[in-house]
Structures are given as C-alpha cells and as structure tokens.
Symmetry: C2
C-alpha cells in the first residue's frame, strides 16, 4: 500500500476572472512527478479556486510549495475582489492523510511547508486545525476574520502573531493558513417528520459543540421540496466519530418523538474506510483488518 | 475509473517440484504491460500453483493466452504427479470482473481466449461457470472428474465434447476449463451456542442448493477451541446475494432457537464494494453512487 496525502489548496483567483493565472496553477500542479491533480473547482463570484491534488508525501510537499510560489508570483491581493472571505493569494492549504499516513505525518509536513514558504517566499502563515500550535489559530474562520485588508493590524495583536514569519503580511500575497486535518464527510439523515424543531433538537444533542460527538458538526433544517426534516452534518474525523455513531444516536433520539429515520445521504466523496467501518460494526466482524483484506487497497497506485 | 479484470489461472506445476518451469510462468505473467502479478501460491504436495493477475481487459486477455502457451510448452501432464485433481497443464482459468466490467464482458473474453488457445495451441477447453454453454459443464468438479488420465475416454461421451476443440486432449497439456465467475467471499457467522445442530439447520435454510439464497453455499460446523457453532459460507456472487442478506437471515433464524449472533468474519480478501453495499443498507443511504462517491475508486490505477 502506497503512502498517500491529499492537499486541497484554495487560491484567490478564478478561471472566470483570470484564466491565465488559473492555468498557471493547474500547470504547476501537473508538473510534479508522484502526484495527480484529481479535481479543480473554480468560482467566478467568489473569484477563488480549489485544487485537489493527491500523491506521495514527498511529491505533495513539493507541489504545495510550488503552487504557493506560483500564486505568490502571479496573484496581487491588493487588487482581488470576490465574495468569499480570503486573506492571501494562497488562502488556505490543508493536508489530509489518505492512506498509510498519520495525522502526525501531515502535521510535520505542513510545518516544513510553512517554514519553506516563509524562508523562500517571505509569506507568513498561521498553523491551523490539527497543526495549530496556538489554540486560537485552530479555527480557520477565526484566522481569516478581518480578511486581507485588516491583516496588517491584526498581526500586531498579541494572539495573532504568525506561527511562521514576522508580524507583517506579504505585500501582495498576504498570509496563508496551513495545516493538517482529517477528511471531512458531509452526511445527512432524513427524518419521517416535517417538524424541523425535532431535527434541530437532535442536531443540538449530537454535535460536539453542545456536548455531543466530538467530531460532529450538525444543524437541523427543513427540506422544503420534500417537506421533511433533516439533520445535516459535517463529520470532521470519521475515525474518531464514525458515521454509525451519528446514525444510531439519531435513531435513538428520534424514537423519543415517535419519529423514524427515513434515509441518509453522503454528499460528495467519502473515503471507502468510513463505509467499511460501518459494515464492520453492523456485521459484527471480528479480526477484520481492512489494510490486508480489502482488495482495492492492494490496487491503488499499482501501476 | 479504469476497467479491471482479475485472472487466477491454476497450473499443474509447483515451485517445489520444478522451479524452472514455475519461474517461466511468473516471468511470463510479469512480461505483459497493463497487468500486474498480485500474488503467487505454490504447493509442492499438490504440485500445483495459482497466479493472481489483475489488469485491463486487453492485458488480461493477452497474458492469459501467453501463460497457457508457456504452460503448454513446458509442462508434461503424462509425467505429472500431485494430490490435487487436475486435467491439464493449464488446469483452470477463471476471469473475475473487478472494476467497471460486467460478467458478460468476462464471458466474452473467456470465449476469445478459449478459441485462441484451441486455434494456436491445439488445447481444447470446457467453458465453465458463467461462461458455460452446456449446463453440464458449469461445475468445475464435474468437468474435472476422471482427471487427465481418464479424459481421452470422457471426451467421447455425448455430454463431454469440449466447447472449443475436437474430442481429444492435447497429448501433453490435456484440457483446460475456462470461464467467468464472480469473486468468491469466504464469510462466517459465529453463534452464541455450542449446539452445532442449530448451525447446520441454519446453513441448510440459507444455502441456495436447498432453497435459500441463490449465491450462498453454507455448512454448519463447531469451532472446537471456542466451543461455538458457526455458519461457514462461500458467497459466490456478492452482488446477487449481498453479505447482509446472509447476516440478517441468520439473525432471524437463530432467534427461533433463542440464539444470538456473536460475531462474523471475512476470511481472506474481499472487494470493498461488498462492504460498502452493507454500509449502504444499514445506513439507509439514498442516491448513493459508489463509482462517483468513493474516493479510493478514483485512485486505483492513477499512476
């Protein structure tokens, strides 16, 4: 099984607004051996793009630096306009452990990249999420509050010194948030009721912020077209809080209101392991080792 | 997602008895671009080896032919001694759909290989399992009964004409069984009882041959060390009869005897999809498309 890390950098440029700069980033992502550009997402209103690159730790470390270098050279934040909050040309650069790699590996890698970006490009950074050294830098929204324009002043506040670099932004590239995080799974459970209050109560009960599962963010909402209530979740660490924890707890809580689970849904991609863990639980599998026993794991990167 | 087929040919030679011939087959398997030798198994008592090769349909078609050619040129069945039943130098050659390939694709491929093996190597064949044209050729054990030594006479019987070739074996390479089949999953369910009769009754109820699930073979046995009864199964088509059918039916049948399921186990490798299908069932997922939504599927063969 090869070691694989995913990097999903967000840049303050879009194909719609500046196709040449956007293409420069795509070309850079495609120019490093050992990694693959899996997906690009670009939004003209946000004037922002997201690249999904996957590959070996060494290749990811190199491509992350090169992408940040390219963005620093080609994007001028003093002229950037877009609806999405942003603080740098490379706005945020998360590293996600995918295969045979630990979060600790990704944390170490993120720090090496942040150091190099400061030393060679003079772009300072916050270490966020699992890489956070200062607890107040953990949450991306907190780091980014005030955006590019307010950063010069923000960096002078006691708790907002960059983790790498001096207390001033790069004049045109701003500042970047760099860190390791688990893959995020968007998971929704639909209830056999139109009473959105029930979904809201359940969401409050299961989310980590109000005493529920540590790695679960949840809200209750009404799907108006179908007139059913939904518990909409972001599972931010499916190993710590597996999908079936959420499903079984919602089932138990809904029962109190005489409500059944109608269905659930996964939005976007999910690691196979998040689903295999559910099969392992429901089938009561013993002595199961997914690394040895799941055939596809032997095929990844085989040729 | 790339198209992937697995071929698991069995040859009447072992590394223990004839290392040079064995190595010739391994080298042949490694010499075709687009496929990979995943595993070799060789048994001196059986004087037999099994290669597991996976790759694109074109590469698998080519490597299957070349392996049969090599075996025909280097193995002399008139001198072969081994405990395992066998009828040819290439004894059996199954093709298993792995990814983005149908059973029908594998059936068509198996027939092309069988035709070429007859035309270029003068080795006749039975089409077995899903490729069977004559129902009496479907079961491999039936095809092989009498073994190499009795084949010349057997082929003269009305129902035992080869599906490709004339009614006589290749003088030194015998005859081969070729066909498509689904991957086989060895799956056991352990019961909270030492009464093996309960496991035997449940096994009889769930296996296809006695009226249960079409693609499930099952026996009841006692795990003596743990003193618990087990329903031991071969799931021969996990898409037709998913693992959770077996699990849920065993749970329902065991309840009648006041017995609970203790655990279950997967022996050896399993396709991720067999487990993902279980997660989909238990989580009541709606609108789930594994091809689009399982991240690892996008990584296989990526580089």
């Amino acid at each position: 099984m090869p070691k694989l890390i995913e990097c999903i950098p967000n840049f303050s440029v879009s194909e719609q607004v500046d196709p040449v700069v956007f293409q420069g980033l795509v070309d850079t992502a495609n120019a490093v051996a050992g990694c693959t550009l899996l997906n690009t997402h670009t939004d003209g209103d946000h004037n922002r793009c997201v690249l999904t690159v996957i590959g070996s730790p060494d290749a990811i470390e190199e491509v992350a630096f090169r992408l940040c270098k390219k963005a620093t050279e080609t994007i001028d934040m003093t002229k950037h306009v877009g609806k999405h909050p942003r603080m740098g040309a490379t706005d945020v650069m998360p590293f996600v452990p995918m295969m045979d790699v630990t979060t600790e590996d990704c944390v170490a890698l993120s720090k090496r990249v942040a150091k190099r970006i400061w030393e060679e490009l003079s772009v300072p950074s916050f270490l966020y999420e699992d890489s956070a050294v200062c607890p107040q830098h953990r949450n991306l929204a907190d780091c980014r509050r005030g955006q590019f324009e307010a950063m010069p002043e923000k960096l002078l506040q006691p708790e907002w010194a960059p983790d790498f670099g001096e207390r001033k932004i790069h004049p045109t590239a701003g500042i970047v948030a760099i860190g390791a995080r688990m893959p995020l799974i968007a998971y929704n459970v639909n209830l056999d009721t139109s009473d959105v209050e029930i979904a809201k109560k359940i969401a409050k009960a299961i989310r980590g912020s109000s005493g529920g599962f540590r790695y679960c963010k949840a809200i209750g909402l009404l799907l108006e077209e179908r007139n059913i209530a939904q518990v909409s979740m972001n599972m931010v660490n499916y190993e710590g809080t597996p999908l079936y924890y959420a499903f079984e707890m919602i089932r138990a809580l809904a029962e109190r209101y005489g409500v059944r689970i109608l269905s659930s849904e996964l939005v976007g991609m999910t690691p196979a392991k998040a689903m295999i863990d559910c099969a392992e639980y429901y089938l009561k599998l013993e002595n199961f080792n997914d690394k040895d026993q799941v055939l596809e794991y032997h095929l990844i990167g085989m040729e």
